[in-house]
């Protein structure tokens, strides 16, 4: 197959074959992975569950991993990470994503409002080390909060499908019972698996925040098991603190769950600029990235130094930058930016 694609690409050179095929049908691609939305369900207020059918290049996901999907909004393709909630290794090769519409979340709001069957999104292979190990641990503790439920839900469903014989506890924190996605399914799993202990907490109603007592009650064996946690900063910190105190950090597996935030004052210079490809760091001095890179002893390619020639374009891995010509700030990860007209706002990682 690959040989054939190469051969055909000799004919379509210099354009990749996919640049022709996608015009016929967006899901007809030789190399690029994409997915078509086949079902849209809005059962929980403020969140939407999408079923996606990936193109044939899809190699599946391991429970806990994430995928990147890209949707076009106002002409611009925006990429976001979501963890599939479906169990791993299913034969139907579908992906199920539950997306919570965050206030001010461009992509999540868009999907919540506009996702319809037939919509095609770009897709990257599943990635991430937050995943169930093989062979499965004898005891598993899953803790999640809010929309952090998605990767651990996939773990829970995978273990349920496999008929996991060990001991499992799942502790989830949500604003209210209504805000928990896939609640009915959780009940079914709980009833079908006597060795599973599934508990919901709604701190707002007085059922309390995560603490040592709750941990002891739900999984008194937690020191012998493997713990997987994903949720808001506060929950993560609380769990981490206890595991550190118990010297069990190596048994704790956490998935960061952060929302990109734009600092209030974009003109203020603070934080660190890290040039990841060269392993150098510099204190952000407020100058444009090209100048800061040069001051740090790097020699990135550049041209006009005024934003017209695009010679100095490099990928901003993380952080927020400000376009000094327009004043606009942007903090989408993994975006190519022009170094000569973009200044870092706070911590920024640039791939040079």
């Amino acid at each position: 197959m690959v040989g054939l694609i190469d051969l055909v690409q000799t004919l379509t050179t210099p354009h990749p074959l996919d640049r022709y095929l996608e015009l016929v049908r967006p899901t007809l691609t030789a190399r690029e992975l994409r997915a078509e939305i086949t079902h849209v369900r809005r059962s929980v207020p403020g969140s939407v569950t999408l079923t996606l059918r990936p193109t044939r290049q899809w190699r599946g996901h391991a429970a806990g991993q994430y995928v990147q999907i890209g949707v076009v909004i106002d002409g611009i393709r925006h990429i976001r990470c979501y963890s599939p909630v479906n169990p791993e290794g299913r034969r139907d090769r579908h992906i199920q994503l539950t997306v919570k519409a965050h206030p001010g979340g461009l992509v999540s709001q868009y999907l919540y409002r506009n996702a319809v069957p037939g919509m095609v999104v770009s897709l990257e292979p599943a990635a991430g080390v937050f995943r169930l190990p093989e062979p499965r641990p004898e005891r598993v503790l899953l803790i999640s909060g809010g929309s952090g439920i998605t990767p651990v839900l996939s773990m829970l469903r995978t273990l349920a499908e496999e008929g996991y014989p060990g001991e499992l506890a799942f502790l989830h924190y949500a604003k209210s019972p209504e805000a928990v996605p896939h609640r009915a399914e959780l009940e079914v799993i709980a009833q079908a698996n006597k060795n599973f202990r599934i508990e919901m907490r709604h701190p707002g109603d007085g059922s309390g925040y995560f603490d040592y007592d709750q941990l002891e009650r739900v999984a008194p064996w937690f020191a012998d098991g493997e713990t997987y946690v994903c949720g808001p900063q506060g929950l993560m910190a609380a769990v981490r603190k206890i595991f550190e105190a118990e010297q069990l950090s190596d048994r704790l597996h956490a998935e960061e769950f952060t929302l990109a935030t734009t600092p209030v004052d974009a003109d203020e210079a603070f934080g660190t600029v890290s040039f990841s490809a060269s392993g150098k760091n510099a204190e952000n001095n407020g100058a444009v990235l090209l100048e800061q890179a040069e001051a740090a002893g790097l020699t990135p390619e550049y041209g006009c130094r005024m934003g017209i020639c695009f010679s100095c374009t490099a990928v901003r891995r993380t952080g927020c930058t400000r376009n000094v010509r327009t004043g606009e700030t942007n903090s989408d990860p993994d975006q190519p930016i022009q170094l000569c007209i973009n200044a870092p706002v706070g911590d920024v990682e640039i791939d040079i």
Binding site: P14, E32, G75, G307, I308, C309, F310, S311
Partner: protein, 394 residues
């Protein structure tokens, strides 16, 4: 060079304040367009890509009927249109970063390659960086004559220049190869300013890119038509030639028609953004025409708008043009435009005229517009008024 804007009292003089005011007006215009970019621009570029792919497939398919002359002609026409669209409205503009904001892999300036023998990265260096940053500055912008032609009076004449119309014709016919060789700066190697080792990497890249292009157009596609090998080969050669003639003509109309100014390094040292804008306006020329003509020229018929805003999607240039023209009128600046016939005629006239020794054709170069520069205003107003070493535009 004829002067378009010379007033009764001599050339038009712009004060530093006027220049900066003009610069701010252009920045505002740019910001308005940037804020408005969206779905319609995306649809536009994809519709052009679809059309280009359609013409390409039609052209390649019709070659199978190439034994019938009308079909051969239709095949060549379709393939020529495909190559022109690919190079001009798609390739040139995508590689300028005009569609980078869409964050689409296939339309990103870092990754895009075009259907011509010149590798994208080399073209981006000689064109996006050198030509667009140092537009019409002698010794900096190698597009003034491309190292082989005398396109401005300040370039020295020598007897070899007599052959210039022939060189220009040769460049037009082999334009894609000329564009490929541009970044090598061969004339600088001959002059000893550049060594062979400097260009080793460039040659390697050219060998790879041109090899693939030649293999596709002159070996694989002809072979796929079996007994029609020669007919298809001839068709593909012709389509590349048509693209060359067209691209050369459009591109030469951008900076060489009568009335376009050139600059020296000293005049343009430490330019402000406003001064940079003014230089772009004085150094570029437009071509008038229909919507279809603008698309087929990659909107380089709006060369002035392109040089002011090289990274704005080209389909916006027609919308920008009236406002740019209005600004020119407001400040008394020339807005150099004319029909394709006029501009091409003017370019070839210049090619012929500058082939001849200066004593035969006389010297006509006088600045049309003088830009007063900030650093001299405070210290030496007298010098500005007398137009000595202090102005741009000589």
């Amino acid at each position: 060079m004829t002067i378009l804007t010379e007033t009764k009292d001599g050339p038009l003089v712009l004060s530093p304040d006027q220049v900066e005011e003009l610069g701010r007006a252009l920045d505002d215009l740019r910001a308005r367009i940037v804020a408005d970019l969206g779905d319609s621009d995306r649809e536009y570029i994809y519709s052009i890509i679809k059309a280009q792919r359609g013409f390409e497939i039609a052209g390649r398919s019709l070659m199978y009927l190439g034994f019938l002359p009308p079909f051969w002609l239709a095949a060549v026409a379709a393939l020529s249109v495909s190559k022109i669209l690919d190079n001009m409205e798609i390739g040139h503009n995508v590689m300028h970063g005009q569609y980078d904001w869409m964050r689409e892999r296939g339309l990103n300036s870092r990754e895009f390659e075009w259907d011509t023998v010149c590798p994208a990265d080399q073209w981006k260096h000689s064109h996006n960086y050198l030509h667009h940053t140092y537009t019409n500055i002698h010794g900096m912008d190698r597009d003034i004559g491309y190292g082989i032609l005398r396109m401005d009076e300040s370039q020295k004449w020598n007897p070899l220049r007599l052959g210039q119309p022939l060189y220009a014709f040769g460049l037009m016919v082999l334009f894609e190869w000329g564009v490929m060789g541009h970044d090598l700066e061969v004339e600088n190697i001959i002059r000893g300013k550049r060594s062979w080792s400097d260009i080793k990497k460039l040659v390697k890249g050219q060998w790879r890119k041109a090899g693939r292009q030649v293999l596709k157009d002159y070996v694989v596609f002809p072979a796929l038509t079996g007994p029609l090998f020669v007919s298809t080969l001839a068709g593909n050669v012709t389509a590349n030639l048509v693209r060359n003639l067209w691209a050369f003509s459009i591109i030469f109309c951008g900076h060489f028609p009568t009335g376009v100014q050139t600059f020296t390094e000293a005049e343009t040292a430490e330019e402000t953004r406003g001064e940079w804008y003014v230089r772009q306006m004085l150094g570029s020329a437009n071509i008038t025409g229909s919507k279809l003509f603008h698309i087929m020229s990659g909107n380089l018929s709006h060369q002035i708008e392109h040089h002011l805003f090289p990274d704005l999607p080209a389909n916006r240039y027609p919308q920008l043009a009236p406002e740019v023209r209005e600004l020119c009128e407001k400040y008394g600046l020339p807005y150099n435009t004319g029909s394709l016939g006029q501009q091409v005629g003017s370019v070839w006239m210049k090619i012929f005229k500058l082939a001849l020794p200066p004593f035969l054709v006389g010297k006509e170069s006088t600045p049309g517009v003088i830009v007063m520069r900030q650093q001299v205003v405070s210290s030496d107003l007298q010098a500005v008024a007398s137009g000595n070493t202090t102005e741009v535009g000589v």
